[in-house]
Amino acid sequence: MKKLINDPKNVVDESVEGFGLAHPDIVSVTPDPLFVARASGAVSGKVAIVSGGGSGHEPLHAGFVGVGMLSAAVPGPVFTSPTPDPIVAATLAVDGGAGVLHIVKNYTGDVLNFETAADLADAEGVRVASVVVDDDVAVKDSLFTAGRRGVAGTVFVEKVAGAAAERGDDLDAVVAIATKANSVVRTMGVALAAGIVPHAGEPSFVLADDEIEIGIGIHGEPGRERIPLEPADAIVDRMLAPILEDLPFASGDRVLLFVNGMGGTPLVEQYIVYRHAAKVLAEKGIEVARTLVGNFATSLEMQGVSITVAKLDDELTELWDAPVETVALRWGR
């Protein structure tokens, strides 16, 4: 394992410290318990939004803290949910009196720790609501699993919920927006090579030189199937089919098409993926109204991408377009 780190056990603390030093105009970092909040602090009278989870998915979530998106992010150890303490601390710090929405990716650990934190914050008199994101079509959502995982679609949910909070929606309305956003977003991932967790020192899984893993999550968990490497266009076809069938997306729909790099795949390849995905959607009469391409919900230096499609209505489009000023997403201001 070669990494630009010091002691593996300080990776998250040092990195988040660096993040705070780099962006003091946008965020402020509280070291213990560790969370990242807007530099401007709590906004009186507006709903606050807190997200978080294991580290290693940067810029998710700290890179989305700022005006128009998250109020705070709580980074756990690499690929491990934070405990409730920092979640509670973040929740109390950003509450502006209008309540706090927790946006939680659907992993048992994340869900439970956020749930506990919500109870504790509630006991402190802060009204907390939660929306769990589960956009990953690779996992069967059935009685036989912990349910679909929350992956790159989380960026979409956080953006539109943040915009709703920013325009002054109350907690119930922000919850409704986040819930609607989650209900229309679908994601599928592929990995060419796993990343390496610093304290583990070894890749979470090993793929042969001609193998790829379809249906990968963002923690290097096993995917749907391991298949021989194919041309990019064929891989995109494989990823898009279950996404489009699932909602289902249909001719006439307007969508956000989001190609997300997993960390170790260059932009050159991400745009080759985008190109074919855009063509497939066009052939099906699905209009790509908005686009996002880049490394937004990563899995350390995993090589691979995910494709996310979200069905837009006028309101979601307006909220997606609303001004945002975070480290990783910035427009309109």
Binding site: P82, G109, N113, T116, V139, T145, A146, E221, P222
Partner: protein, 214 residues
């Protein structure tokens, strides 16, 4: 005889030791069907509990002491097991209120509330290949033993034996909760790490109770 604060402190001390001794064993179990951190998570948590107990007021009730275990686990373990086990101790401690001494019924009330707490949080049923597969048999055995008029120590021994058998019973199962559920058939043949650790913890409770009697 009944169980007081000294039982709780003995239980905590035994748990700290058994978790530390089984750290690698639990990590190995979790590596096979999870992400390999369960032993690390619990060891971190109970090490913190040990430190907290050094300043536990000597006039604490068992409930207060067990609540301290709960809050410490919740704030130090993380992952799935932290809130689950933490809630178990929290709900258990609430069930026994401010009783200074716990009789057999109180022990059953503690175990039942603890198990219910895990279910409340985790929604798992017996057979889902989780810690519930240790807890529920333990509660059932304890309930039966108390109904038979057994002592608190005997009640905990019955619970402990049932929990151990419950942990073993997870081996042939497919997981329906937690990280292992993504593995489907590939989880078969492996013991659930959380069931194993819960069985170890309940065994420590029985051992501590036995030493109180002796």
């Amino acid at each position: 005889m009944s169980l007081g604060l000294s039982w709780v402190t003995a239980w905590v001390a035994d748990t700290v030791k058994v978790v530390s001794d089984n750290r690698l064993h639990l990590i190995d179990l979790d590596r096979e069907i999870g992400d390999g951190d369960h032993g690390e998570n619990l060891d971190r948590g109970f090490t913190a509990v040990k430190a907290k107990f050094e300043s536990l007021p000597s006039d604490s009730t068992p409930g207060e002491a067990l609540k301290l275990v709960a809050t410490t686990l919740i704030s130090t373990v993380g992952g799935a097991s932290g809130p689950l086990l933490g809630t178990a101790y929290l709900k258990g401690s609430q069930a026994i209120g401010d009783q200074a001494e716990l009789d057999s019924d109180a022990v059953v009330a503690f175990l039942t509330a603890a198990r219910d707490g895990v279910v409340l949080r985790g929604k798992a049923e017996v057979g889902d290949k989780t810690m519930i597969d240790a807890w529920t048999p333990a509660v059932d055995a304890a309930t039966a033993a108390a109904a038979d008029g057994k002592s608190p120590s005997e009640v905990l021994r019955a619970a402990s034996d049932a929990a151990a058998a419950g942990a073993v019973s997870t081996e042939p199962l497919v997981a329906r909760k937690g990280r292992a559920s993504y593995l489907g058939e590939r989880a078969v043949g492996h013991r659930d790490p959380g069931a194993e650790s819960s069985s170890l913890i309940i065994a420590a409770a029985a051992d501590a109770a036995a030493s109180q009697e002796g």
